[in-house]
């Protein structure tokens, strides 16, 4: 197992290198530079600015000096916000996005698992359809529609919850978490429904029933554990997806998270911030995919022996 993890980590290095290289040159070739604005920048001023940001160096040497700094863990200063380093910005944005992501996953698990199990008990019934439809709202409606709708209902009509912010006013974390969680609830519901359907037809469930165990014990104790296996395997990629896809939620609710930094950086041509976020998120995605592989291998005895033997 350790060797498996180590070799996967080693393989991650060339992957990261490719991601970095592609992004680096992609953003440099985007039309418009970091200092372009409504007012044309005087050429002499532009020269001074480029010198301060090392943009006057040849592109390749900029690339290698970026890699050099990266190895030392220095992502450089932000282009758009000169007083701030990219490390600092990521440090400020990531915990918030991560918190949002964790709550969203919890919401997704709660809604998705309930709906999935509920509908698996009686497939193709009205109950199945209704619970699956509810769970699927998040993937049948763009988040930039669901978010404002929830705000309108709970923030403006009912005045129960704040309309924006994160950790600012009490209760302001509820709506963003629900909105983001709704997207993933659908997948969780789908997976747990499928998982449960499969498990419920297995021999050992029949055995358990034959032994005369109460049905809810059979389902909750035996069925649920195995039925949730695909959900667990899904959590890693889901969390990684949430981290890079939380932009819409962060924008609608004006949350100061990493997703918002990232997309705004792309629009601002904040070269260093784009690179920093890319490296950081790509690393996270790789790690989470690895974690979820390890976890599902660990939970699945058949695969575990395979890995152990490698």
């Amino acid at each position: 197992m350790l060797r498996f993890i180590l070799s996967r980590l080693l393989q991650a290095i060339p992957v990261l290198l490719v991601v970095i290289t592609v992004t680096f040159f992609l953003v440099r070739f985007a039309p418009g530079g970091p200092f372009d604005g409504e007012r044309k920048v005087d050429p002499s001023v532009l020269k001074a600015l480029e010198a301060q940001y090392n943009l006057d160096q040849p592109l390749m040497s900029q690339y290698f000096s970026f890699l050099g700094d990266l190895v030392q863990g220095d992502l450089g200063p932000s282009f758009k916000y000169p007083g701030r380093s990219v490390n600092e910005l990521i440090g400020a944005g990531f915990p918030i996005t991560a918190e949002l992501g964790i709550y969203a996953i919890l919401v997704a698990l709660l809604i998705g698992a309930i709906a999935g199990v509920f509908s698996a008990l009686k497939p193709n019934s009205a109950r199945d359809y209704i619970s699956m439809s509810t769970a699927m709202i998040g993937i049948c409606m763009p988040a930039f529609l669901l978010g404002p709708l929830l705000i309108l209902i709970f923030g403006i009509w009912l005045e129960w919850l704040p309309v924006s912010g994160w950790g600012d006013l009490p209760g302001d974390k509820i709506l963003p978490s629900v909105t983001l969680g709704a997207v993933y609830a659908a997948y969780v519901a789908r997976l747990s429904r499928g998982g449960m359907l499969e498990v419920l037809s297995q021999d050992y469930i029949r055995t358990a029933r034959a032994k005369g165990l109460p049905e809810h014990v059979v389902i909750l104790k035996h069925g649920l554990r195995a039925g949730m296996l695909p959900v667990v395997a899904y959590l890693g990629p889901a969390f990684a997806g949430i981290l890079s896809g939380s932009f819409v939620i962060e924008s609608v609710f004006q949350i100061q998270g990493l997703g918002r930094f990232y997309v705004l950086a792309a629009f601002n041509r904040d070269y260093t911030l784009i690179m920093g976020c890319t490296v950081f998120l790509a690393t996270l995605i790789i790690v989470f995919n690895l974690l979820s592989d390890v976890l599902s291998a660990y939970l699945n005895p058949r695969l575990r022996s395979q890995l152990g033997g490698k």
């Binding site: 991601v19 992609l26 193709n124 763009p142 930039f144 499928g194 899904y234």
Partner: protein, 303 residues
């Protein structure tokens, strides 16, 4: 795994594509099972209905696409304008119909791109195996590690916007899962008797892939395709939200919704109708996909 094996056992008896297409117990069973799923069936009909309307739009739309009435402005649904008008006095029904064409086209074409790349890639990797497989799948991992949304945003920013690019960009992102699924299927199928038999009688690799492997991996591919279309349509909507989507005066449901959200309290119809249109299609596609998954007895490996 066990479930898909049973599927394969049934199909492994056929070794001819004509026979495969001419109908057999598997597809017949699937159809019977799908018919039991009323929601999936209703979804199928809804999709056909909306598809036909969108196809016929240029002939049946009540107004001209760009026809404005600045003096009228935004007006609520009425006999003259069933869905109301937008702030420039344009008929919303017409715009929703035309927008549907774009949204569905984006969904279908981008999915087709993803399908083509993904299936080819996955089939080659899975069939060839060994080092080629390792390299090809490593590439897939690399692209997986790119933060997708940002990748697309960057692409759209760098290369400007065109419909074609939009299709390609979205397709380029969505093929990955397809490649993985197909590769897994192909690897399993490849080891089955009838394929080995084909190899032994000297059929070329391409012919084997085309005639044996692809048809047999079709089930999961169909299911996944049905579920990719709504993803793509949502992605298009997301790009519209960022202002990177379709160019005006062209429109898509995503664009209409993004605009409608801004005025959802003043002119709710501008949000409700395009929102309903998109949601209904997405619901239908998802239910149809799930229904097909149940009917074809497919377990998606990663979704």
């Amino acid at each position: 795994m066990t479930a898909s094996n049973s599927t394969l056992n049934q199909t492994s008896t056929m070794n001819d594509i004509e026979q495969f297409e001419s109908g057999n117990s598997l597809w017949h069973d699937a159809w019977v099972r799908l018919r039991k799923n009323k929601l999936a069936l209703v979804s199928l009909f809804v999709l056909i209905f909306i598809g036909v309307i969108c196809l016929l739009t240029p002939w049946i739309a009540p107004y001209g696409y760009e026809q404005q009435d600045l003096a009228l402005g935004a007006s609520a649904p009425s006999a003259a304008h069933w869905f109301g008008t937008d702030t420039l006095g344009r008929d919303l029904l017409t715009r929703v119909m035309y927008g549907g064409r774009v949204s569905l086209a984006v969904g279908l074409i981008a999915t087709a791109v993803a399908l083509t790349i993904g299936v080819t890639w996955g089939a080659i990797a899975g069939y060839t195996g060994g080092r080629v497989d390792a390299i090809m799948m490593r590439l897939v991992d690399i692209i997986y590690a790119l933060p997708f949304m940002i990748f697309i945003v960057l692409l759209m920013v760098v290369f400007g916007r065109s419909l074609l690019l939009l299709f390609l960009a979205i397709g380029a992102v969505e093929w990955l899962t397809m490649a993985r699924i197909v590769r897994g299927q192909v690897q399993t199928i490849r080891q089955l008797e009838f394929v080995e038999a084909a190899i032994s009688i000297g059929l070329s690799k391409a012919a084997i892939i085309r005639r044996h492997i692809i048809p047999n991996a079709l089930g999961p591919v169909i299911v996944y395709t049905t579920l990719t279309i709504p993803n793509v349509m949502l992605l298009e909507a997301f790009l519209s939200f960022l202002g990177l989507g379709i160019q005006p005066p062209e429109s898509s449901w995503g664009v209409l919704i993004a605009n409608g959200v801004e005025s959802m309290e003043e002119y709710p119809w501008l949000l409700i109708f395009p929102g309903l249109a998109l949601s209904i299609v997405l619901f239908s596609l998802n239910f149809l996909g799930d229904g097909l998954r149940d009917a074809l007895d497919v377990r998606a490996s990663k979704d």
